[in-house]
Symmetry: C2
Subunit: 453 residues, 2 copies
């Protein structure tokens, strides 16, 4: 319900913008767009069909171009970059932070990338190359090398004077990092404690060395989990020798958490999280076709099971009427278990030590539901077709399929994970294949045994 | 794949813990548990079956009890509280921040709540009552009334002296808030600028009044979106008269984003995001039963369509074999569109102005896929059953059902949203009912028209 009462600022802007675009006068559109933050502009661009998107993109203040590109999905981004001149692209990206630039690099045309690298000073170019040397999806790719460090052998007063000289600090600086002569990470000092301590206090009395540094090779999923487990705003990144390399900030972590959520929601339907709502028809068709093709294959598998029982069905046509119920209910019950298990795996809550307990719990739940729903289903079928053996067959088949669904709901994702696949992506297809096949097999098989004489 | 290479710290801890528990010696378990942060302990408790959970919960350092309770789902929390004495509960929660306490209040037994209220000083009790007076899911419930404010008519130097006197600042303080005599919000000053400015600078030269304050009645979804659009660490909350009431911090926003993601992933399977992996069997059974009951109803709806064509099926049994393919493929195609549209709606990207464009895009995608997959399916059916009219019928039925799936994939969630329902929850059931009914109707209907003479 919270979703429903949302003020829907974007939807409102969209309506205003759409009216302005329809009127054909671009002045008001430009004014409207440039009252928004880059993230809001990005969201707005994603919600526009291709033609309008190009028009609005042309009206965005060039100063915001780089930030906007950071806030749209890969597919939309490609399209926006394709609409820009090389000079525009260079101008847009050259002022970005190193970690943000690293995020964009692979979407830039090679010639443009060369220009960007040439326009950077040597220091920054080296920093960018360092960030790019780490794997995508690792802490190294998320970090910003721009950090403020201090040494232990000094006082607050000296630090304060240094900060005043330095002027502005990097965004989201909540701690200064204390390093050794060899730039090894020793701990951090909160800006807060700088403000609330006496000026003559030595720095080493204020060091907080409780926060562990993040290993540069750690996965971004682990980074996100640590941030949310410990309520961090920023965290230092170090290499294998504990040398301080940079800093990860919460804003990038929030983006990762959002992406993970989208990855799971869209991945289960066979879509990438960067899918553009308004992708060109040929591209969207091609991508969906692959997924539907896989599903066609599994559908044939289930059909071939039904095919084995054509004689039985020819005898008792009611079986054809009822068989989708058994298969479908198994799919629904299994999907519930799958959803729970996928979440448990993502949170690291499921391992060898408790999978058996979970299976035993789910099997009991399935047995109870199978008995109760089987009773209801049996009674309805008896009332509909007036044959109690048929009612008995469907009630038993439902219970069997719910049990199979419970087993598959736990074992399919756990096995996928163990084999190194993402259970959120492939789990659903495999699960419903199991429940379809087992649903048809148990129902039509039992019917052949019991009803056909 | 990122998921697969995760270090799975929790899973590792779980294994260690499980071994320690099995050995029956609780000393090592206690030591292991108390090296973890409250969030990690919460995650660990969620991953333990009930009996082990009670043992481990008894070993947690009482100082961490309150924080741990904040980091588990509602269902697990209830169980943990049920294991505690009233005195323990009071001790656990009385030191929590006001916003966190507000989060727990409704799970506390009434007698315990009275004790907690009695143990608080009047100021804090009034603050808690104020926070509780706002709706759940609103900004008012998220805010912490503990903020540091300064006035305009002073200098940095005075502020710095005030901060040193005050000592520790509330967690995640990155800005001080500037208020008028009547406590109206005027703007904020970054701790950074306090550190980098000259001491004699007047406060009003440093005020940043660009960040809009959050309305206390705003929904938590809107709050989360603003935080991630603007990369905020904290934001002021005001009432209708612009009086500063409190402050929301990014750590609570991260929790909301995670909850929203879980709500969507589990909600689509008819589960609440607070579902305990190891709920007691009777409770889990009851909850699943409701969902499966709804699905049983929709399954009968689809079956009754098949029931209308029993004579046709008795003629041509191959129809029974093939009909699940048409229905199932429609469900898969529709689910893809649904997933895209639900995301678009959640981001506010879809409104009256662009729904038509989207429908037109999806209809073209469905038509193309319908033709191509229909051709493949038709060829396979022709090869299998050797009858080209049957092949033609199934190819046409598939195309029709994919078109219906595209329409339903857009219109079902958009309509649900317009009616004030959460499209992520009910969308899937309604969609697959549409695609099942239309799949059976188009395939068996066409077959009756074309094949039965």
């Amino acid at each position: 319900m919270a979703e429903a009462v949302r003020h829907d600022k974007t939807a409102r802007q969209l309506r205003l913008l759409s009216d302005a675009l329809d009127s054909g006068r671009l002045g008001p559109v430009r004014r409207l767009v440039n009252t928004l933050s880059p993230a809001e502009i990005g969201n707005l661009l994603e919600s526009l069909p291709k033609a309008q998107r190009t028009v609005v993109w042309g009206l965005v203040d060039p100063e915001d171009d780089g930030e906007v590109l950071l806030h749209v999905g890969d597919e939309v981004r490609e399209g926006l970059i394709a609409d820009m001149d090389p000079d525009e692209i260079v101008a847009a990206v050259e002022d970005l932070d190193i970690d943000d630039l690293a995020d964009l690099v692979e979407d830039l045309p090679d010639t443009v990338l060369d220009e960007v690298l040439k326009s950077m000073d040597r220091d920054n170019r080296e920093r960018l190359e360092q960030v790019l040397s780490y794997d995508e999806g690792s802490a190294g790719r998320l970090m910003n090398p721009d950090v403020v460090t201090v040494r232990t052998d000094t006082t607050i007063d000296v630090v304060l004077r240094y900060l005043r000289l330095r002027g502005e600090l990097p965004d989201h600086t909540d701690h200064l990092y204390v390093v050794s002569r060899r730039h090894q990470y020793l701990g951090r000092i909160a800006l807060q404690s700088l403000l609330t301590s006496e000026p003559n206090m030595p720095v080493n009395r204020l060091i907080d060395d409780e926060q562990p540094a993040i290993d540069v090779h750690e996965s971004e999923g682990d980074v996100a989990r640590q941030f949310s487990d410990h309520d961090w705003i920023s965290a230092p990144v170090v290499d294998d020798n504990n040398i301080l390399l940079g800093r990860i900030t919460i804003d990038d972590v929030v983006d990762i958490i959002r992406e993970q959520a989208e990855h799971q929601a869209l991945g289960a339907a066979g879509l990438g999280e960067d899918e553009d709502l308004f992708s060109p028809v040929p591209r969207a068709t091609k991508r969906r076709l692959l997924w539907l093709g896989i599903n066609l294959g599994t559908a044939f598998l289930a059909s071939s099971v039904v095919g084995q029982f054509q004689t039985t069905i020819a005898h008792i046509v009611a079986l054809a009427v009822l068989m989708p119920i058994v298969a479908g209910m198994g799919g629904n019950a299994g999907t519930q278990v799958l959803a729970l298990v996928v979440r448990g795996l993502a949170l690291g809550q499921l391992g060898a030590s408790n999978v058996q307990v979970l299976i035993w719990k789910e099997v009991r739940v399935a047995a109870l539901n199978g008995l109760m729903l089987g009773l209801v289903l049996g009674l309805i079928v008896w009332a509909w077709f007036g044959e109690w053996p048929l009612a008995l067959v469907i009630a038993s088949a439902l219970t069997i399929n719910l049990l199979m669904a419970a087993l598959a709901g736990v074992l399919v994702p756990v096995t996928l994970k163990r084999m190194g696949f993402d259970p959120a992506l492939a789990g659903g297809v495999i699960l419903t294949t199991v429940t379809d096949v087992m649903g048809f097999l148990s129902f039509l098989g039992l019917a052949t045994l019991v009803l056909v004489r």
